[in-house]
Symmetry: C2
């Protein structure tokens, strides 16, 4: 199956996850939408009773305080979807922003909640993706609540790496990261200044490096996991879908 999806920011083309295949097989004629880097697709408080299925590129779910402080709730990668709202709860709790140029499609209840067996299988996958979304949000919350700056930063890099790898978007510890330190700070709950200090230290300690602007390489996965307080094997089980064999 070939799709008219533009290449994103990845260093290699994404292998589509099973959920994207499933959904696009079911609805082959759905319009694919595009968003430019920096564009907001949804704003907090908007009416929303559907979901977004990300096909290519990076997006962020975020919330903002009255004083302008922003927190990124979750980073979305190809194959992820956001349950934005539902008919009895139709208000979006988060904004959705494109971190890179991105393409996506809109998933409505009618296109997923039908009685057909195909849809039942789709729902099984959707539930699984939801579970992994919750799992990584929980990990993030744990670190925002109880961990140091170093641990949070290490965690963020590790989460992204672990998720990018099965998509073919990271290899040999190296991946492109289309986020400024400001945005990384919004993700892990630190000031941009402190993100810089923390990452510099990781760099000086030989744990990560910076082969090109916008790219990261993890040189010592073991050490990074230790700093992030992560058991990699368990972590992968929690936030990745089992590969259909």
């Amino acid at each position: 199956m070939t799709l008219p999806i533009p290449s994103g920011t990845g260093i290699a083309p994404a292998r589509f996850s099973s959920i994207v295949d499933e959904y696009l097989n079911l609805w082959p004629h759905l319009p694919v939408q595009h968003a430019a880097k920096g564009q907001f697709i949804v704003d907090e408080g908007d009416f929303a009773d559907s979901s977004i299925l990300l096909l290519d590129g990076w997006m962020a779910l975020s919330k903002t305080l009255p004083d302008g402080e922003r927190q990124i709730i979750d980073v979305l990668l190809p194959g992820d979807f956001v349950l934005l709202g539902a008919s009895v709860a139709p208000v979006a709790a988060c904004s959705v922003e494109a971190l890179s140029d991105a393409s996506y499609t809109v998933l409505t209840p009618e296109r997923a909640n039908g009685p057909e067996p195909v849809m039942a299988r789709l729902r099984t996958l959707l539930a699984a993706v939801l579970v992994t979304t919750q799992a990584r949000t929980a990990e993030l919350l744990l670190r925002l609540g109880k961990s140091s700056a170093a641990s949070r930063t290490a965690y963020a890099l590790l989460e992204l790496y672990v998720r990018l790898e099965p998509l073919g978007l990271a290899s040999d510890g190296r991946f492109s990261l289309p986020m400024t330190q400001q945005k990384i700070g919004e993700f892990v709950g630190l000031s941009n200044v402190h993100v810089c200090r923390t990452m510099r230290r990781l760099e000086r300690d030989g744990i990560i490096s910076h082969p090109a602007p916008g790219e990261i390489r993890i040189d010592d996965l073991e050490a990074l996991s230790r700093i992030a307080d992560i058991d990699l094997a368990l972590f992968r089980e929690e936030i990745l879908l089992r590969r259909p064999s």
Copy 2:
């Protein structure tokens, strides 16, 4: 419809939420399970491919770091459910602990993913409950990342109050809170000591009071909302289900 559910810690009997009604109408003969205060129903890393629907009492989703620090990801109230795992992602990312004596039932995919219209309606409700769960987790994450101790604490009290009210478990700003300051700290990411300081200050400022041990009264909802950086009306829309009229 009358159910053999023991009264929880509430100061008034809970009116069951629509989702509980719906599910129990659909499966009237399901065993209701009980858990004693402090008991863990699920541990992080356990195999899990089903969900828990809380009928009565309080539960907490939590995660623990290797050094023993714990973060409460979400507090569950009657009518909430947790999507613990799914067939392609069958590992529980959180532990589930009873904060008070509680009763619950187990919700499996077979009991929700069928083609029957009743199940489709149940799924609509489940999706809505999921949306509200995500909404409050996002609010919490925002505060752990970007807010002061006062704001976090105020938020926690407010979230619980707003959720308890439509269940008939809070009236006139007053509700019972079966959590020690230690646990509140695990929820909002503060040390028990600082929770104490912060709540004492709110008390001295006449914003909350403490009519009895284990009970809280919000005396100045307006002020508490301001401290928590919350727009109450919008907040209610995001974390509450629309009442079926």
